[in-house]
Symmetry: C2
Subunit: 233 residues, 2 copies
DNA sequence: ACAATTTGGTGTATGTTATACACAGATAGG
DNA sequence: CCTATCTGTGTATAACATACACCAAATTGT
């Protein structure tokens, strides 16, 4: 399953000359699947549903994609999109990496289904490209390869992990936050610290930007380490 | 579906007096489901499979649990386990929060299926208890409730996001890492920074502890902020 | 032009899910 | 005793991925 994904993601497909003209294309199929996932979640993406989007039958999809797993692989890399060029951003690694984190954030905002599926899968050119830009941003800091990779993993991990809460914490409805808040208040004796935090504004709907706060903390931590390193030399 | 989960997780179930004696219990069912998920992944947990573990039919499970979604809710909170008591750890918030992160890490190591499902679900007593201990550790630092919550979210997010890679990066097989490494080397021209990082040891199997490295960076970042705040006062 | 080859789309079948529903047997309270 | 209540079962349904055989279309070589 992975092998075919690699070919689809990284290889160049040659249009066969014989046979009837195809009624769809892999690109169209992937785009339609992403459209469905964006609107109704990954659960709404079934082979039948995607094929139906073109007026074809379920099985017709298998002429373009070996299976659903591979389709999701393609969806992910396409949803990531063209990796950015951070080289024009001045000020060293920090603003570059911050911008990189924010761009990653935007991807997660646009494609919420992404997070449930994007770990430990085969990486496509776009996804690897994103990784490349971050690693490049840290190239001149005196870190070892291992440290660079761990740092990027840390920043990406932070962004990734916060994304599911973003719409909720900042948004209007905040159904999940309200449910949790109600539970905490209902069991105030068991969770005193949580209650105190709530009384002070946590889980609220203020202007506080959870994402930027945490991002700056993470980058501060990296900065401390980098500066300590260059002081050593 | 969520309402029933709240009752199961937070309510006290009273044994009805009439009718036959139940052949299973919710606790046994949840334990069996966790055992299966630990060994073969969440995908192996089907109602049939869990019921079969007791020699009963699929439908018998529905006498104990309203549906699979609720079963997973219960699995998660049970897998989290009793929240720790960090109050005896000396040295202020930092070692407490570090220990908290490591304990969370252990949970993810023991129950790898956890990560795919634990976001945005209803929180059980154990899960909220874990949250409570972390919030309590940051209670005396002069942070606002919003800042505390964002900080805990940041640390937890970091741990959570790194967990899927742990077995791979540190382990012996590292199938995923090898596949990615091969792709990067194969397209060296497109990913120069990544190649340089690999040449310097990234994606390798050294002693480098990705988890502790990132954790210390994250905590450093928090420390900078906390100290800056107390200097202001 | 014609036959062979290759390919796209369809219809049908299989196996796996979760879960609704009706029923049979067990159990305890009145 | 007998009736309400509860447990476990059997059957049915609907959604899902996907294997396979088939027909029709389009191009290539003769």
């Amino acid at each position: 399953m992975t092998a075919k994904s690699v070919e689809l993601l990284w290889g160049s497909a040659e249009r066969p000359s014989r046979g009837p003209k195809p009624g769809m294309s892999v690109e169209q199929i992937v785009a339609a699947a992403i459209r469905i996932a964006d609107a109704e979640g990954l659960g709404a993406v079934s082979m039948q549903r995607v094929a139906g989007e073109f007026g074809f039958t379920t099985m017709s999809l298998y002429r373009y994609v070996p299976g659903k797993s591979e389709l999701v692989d393609l969806m992910i890399d396409t949803a990531v999109g063209e990796p950015p060029d951070l080289s024009a951003i001045p000020g060293g690694w920090r603003p570059k990496l911050a911008e990189w984190a924010r761009l990653t954030w935007v991807v997660f905002q646009r494609h919420p289904w992404f997070l449930a599926e994007a770990t430990q899968r085969i990486m496509g050119p776009n996804q690897l490209g994103f990784l490349e830009t971050a690693v490049a941003a840290l190239g001149q800091c005196g870190l070892t390869g291992e440290e660079i990779m761990a740092s990027v993993l840390m920043v990406n991990g932070y962004v990734r992990s916060l994304a599911p809460f973003s719409g909720e914490l900042a948004g209007a409805s905040n159904e999940w936050g309200n449910a949790v808040g109600a539970l905490i208040r209902q069991h105030a004796d068991r969770f005193p610290a949580l209650n105190a935090a709530i009384a002070e504004g946590a889980f609220g709907l203020s202007e506080f930007d959870d994402f930027e706060f945490g991002l700056q903390r993470v980058l501060d931590g990296l900065e401390v380490y980098i500066e300590r390193g260059s002081a050593r030399r």
